[in-house]
């Protein structure tokens, strides 16, 4: 299959989200709103296997390119820390007339979901936190691991965005997956085209530096933050996640008063892309119940 055929019947729309042009892959005309957001340097194509299946479960689904990502605007006058991504998410919701939405966030997108829920709890309904970033547990081993993960993500992403080539983008994508064969030529080509956009060339070094940098660590959610989060949250992890270990996901689900945990096997950092049937069933059931 191909991205075009996978998304046949969905729409690709561009919105003026409070001054920031924002790309959304959308499907579904009735039901509650579900907003899907990907990871650092990601784009809506990561959700190409999820948008229509979740719309078929009775939701209005909007996968968006986060600020600085994909075909969304990449302003140079913001600091790419958690509050900027939350600001953008709320501007998108306002532009689209969405009062409250479920968030399905993967990696950075999960962090955006939690950070937004923390500060604007009334705008967020349920949260799916998939191989998420942004959580900092109290024990020393977890703290050390968190810093290592930040450094590793920064390193591997900088390599891919610094001088994007077919090979460097392929390497970054293969690092994400449990099975390197999940990285299709079309995915590489899509991401390379995005990385080579003139505004990506200008903004991505800043984006990676700031998002995965020191100044963003103060927005990590600690154990007390997780214990205070009232939202129903499904934490999805995988058996082959290349970033944060599964124990962190399980502990986060335990700490959240209304947290649940599910494991998807044979997947790396992109369970929604590598195991879409499992992912869509888990997410669809969780949001429907």
């Amino acid at each position: 299959m191909s991205f075009w055929i996978d998304s046949l019947g969905a729409q690709v729309n561009y919105y003026n989200a409070g001054g920031w042009r924002t790309r959304a892959l959308e499907a579904g005309t009735e039901g509650e709103h579900v907003i899907m957001i990907g990871g650092l340097s990601g784009h809506v194509e990561g959700f190409v296997r999820n948008v229509l299946p979740l719309a078929e479960r009775g939701f209005q689904v909007h996968a968006i390119d986060a600020l600085g990502h994909g075909f969304t605007d990449k302003p140079l006058d913001v600091t790419y820390n958690a509050p900027a991504f939350t600001d953008h998410l709320l501007r998108f919701m306002d532009a689209r007339g969405i009062e409250k939405a479920h968030i399905v966030g993967q990696s950075l997108g999960g962090w955006i979901g939690l950070h937004t829920a923390q500060h604007f709890p009334e705008r967020i309904d349920k949260i799916v936190f998939a191989t998420g970033a942004g959580v900092l547990l109290s024990d020393e081993a977890s703290k050390k691991k968190s810093e290592e993960v930040h450094a590793a993500v920064k390193n591997v992403t900088q390599k891919a965005v610094g001088a994007p080539t077919y090979e460097s983008v392929k390497a970054r994508l293969e690092w994400l997956m449990a099975d390197p064969a999940s990285v299709t030529d079309e995915l590489i080509k899509t991401r390379l085209a995005i990385y080579l956009l003139p505004d990506s060339r200008l903004a991505m070094p800043k984006l990676v530096e700031e998002q995965a940098g020191e100044s963003n660590r103060k927005y990590l959610l600690n154990e007390a933050d997780l214990e205070a989060l009232p939202h129903e949250t499904l934490v999805i992890w995988t058996d082959k996640n290349p970033t944060t270990p599964v124990e962190v996901g399980m502990k986060a689900a335990e700490l959240m008063p209304r947290g649940e945990f599910a494991l998807i096997e044979n997947a790396g950092h992109w369970p929604m892309f590598e195991q879409p049937a499992d992912f869509n069933r888990l997410v669809g059931d969780f949001l429907s119940k």
Binding site: M1, S2, F3, W4, I5, S7, L8, G9, A10, Q11, V12, N13, Y14, E45, F71, T165, Y166, E167, T184, D185, E186, I188, K189, T190, L192, A193
Partner: protein
């Protein structure tokens, strides 16, 4: 076609998604008909509307959209009953297809626009341009509408192609769709598996076969375009043909002459020259739509 040979791969692998990168894909409801529309290019620019052919869909132009959008605001949509647009017609004759097309164009772009039409889309584009003097440029790719059905069917090549093509609508398996698609192309090896998979998905939709049959059997004799009609065309005209196309070169040459237009032949191509040889077709069409608006 999965390839894993490094730097050449991105050049060789086709992908409709990447060809439409940056485009919006939306559904607009015009006079009760839900219509799929793709738009790309500068929002302020003079709109260039692309009309596909019989049995076609907007992806017909996936090899052309990026190049054309460097010059113009490009608008492509699925004709009534085609692609993912509603099967809301009854006769599916040229008059009905044209009425839907004009409604969609005016809804999105107003009345100031230029036109590119391929095959049946070329016929519709010609009729629209003959009526709307604000259309300044008309590009026809292997256009229908200048030959009566009797003339067309007197060519055994055409008759055989039509007969084979019909199977794609009666029993739309990938093999049948590939066979019909091959009729349009000179080089059968250039068939793109993604286009075949896509067309099969579109053709197996409930009702799609009935629409295609209606389009094929509609009596369109009253809308045939003559040289006299063409002599009244106010738009500048470019006709693009494939060097192995089915429409006689002499006919297209005389149509072009009657409107003071030009005829260009794309080498190594049959009925889809814009698709089979996009480099050559994009260059010719790009020059035409660029020069005359400068």
């Amino acid at each position: 076609m999965a390839r894993d040979d490094g730097l050449l791969a991105p050049l060789l692998v086709m992908s409709i998604w990447t060809d439409f990168a940056g485009s919006s894909v939306s559904f607009v409801e015009v006079a009760g008909v839900r219509t799929r529309v793709v738009q790309l290019g500068p929002q302020g620019g003079r709109p260039l509307v692309l009309l596909h052919g019989r049995g076609g869909h907007l992806e017909t132009f996936h090899c052309n959209v990026q190049e054309l959008a460097t010059h113009r605001r490009v608008i492509i949509f699925d004709l009534l009953g085609h692609g993912l647009s509603d099967h809301a017609g009854s006769s599916y004759d040229i008059g009905e297809l044209r009425a839907h097309a004009v409604a969609v164009i005016e809804h999105i772009a107003g009345t100031d626009y230029d036109l590119i039409g391929q095959s049946l889309g070329g016929w519709i584009a010609t009729l629209v341009a003959l009526e709307n003097a604000k259309v300044r440029q008309l590009v026809l790719i292997e256009p229908a509408g200048f030959q009566s059905e009797g003339e067309r069917m007197s060519d055994p090549k055409v008759r055989a192609a039509v007969e084979k093509g019909g199977r794609a609508f009666d029993t739309p398996t990938e093999a049948d769709v590939a066979l019909r698609f091959a009729q349009l192309l000179l080089n059968k090896e250039s068939i793109d598996p993604e286009m075949v998979a896509l067309r099969t998905r579109l053709y197996v939709q409930p009702g799609a076969g009935a629409v295609h049959k209606a389009v094929r059997t509609a009596d369109n004799a009253q809308w045939l375009v003559t040289s006299e009609n063409m002599s009244t065309l106010s738009a500048q005209l470019l006709i693009v043909r494939g060097d192995h196309g089915h429409i006689p070169e002499a006919l297209l040459s005389s149509v072009a002459a009657s409107a003071g237009g030009q005829l260009t032949t794309i080498p190594q191509a049959k009925q889809w020259p814009h698709y089979e040889n996009p480099v050559a077709a994009n260059a010719v069409i790009g020059d035409f739509i660029k020069e005359t608006t400068a």
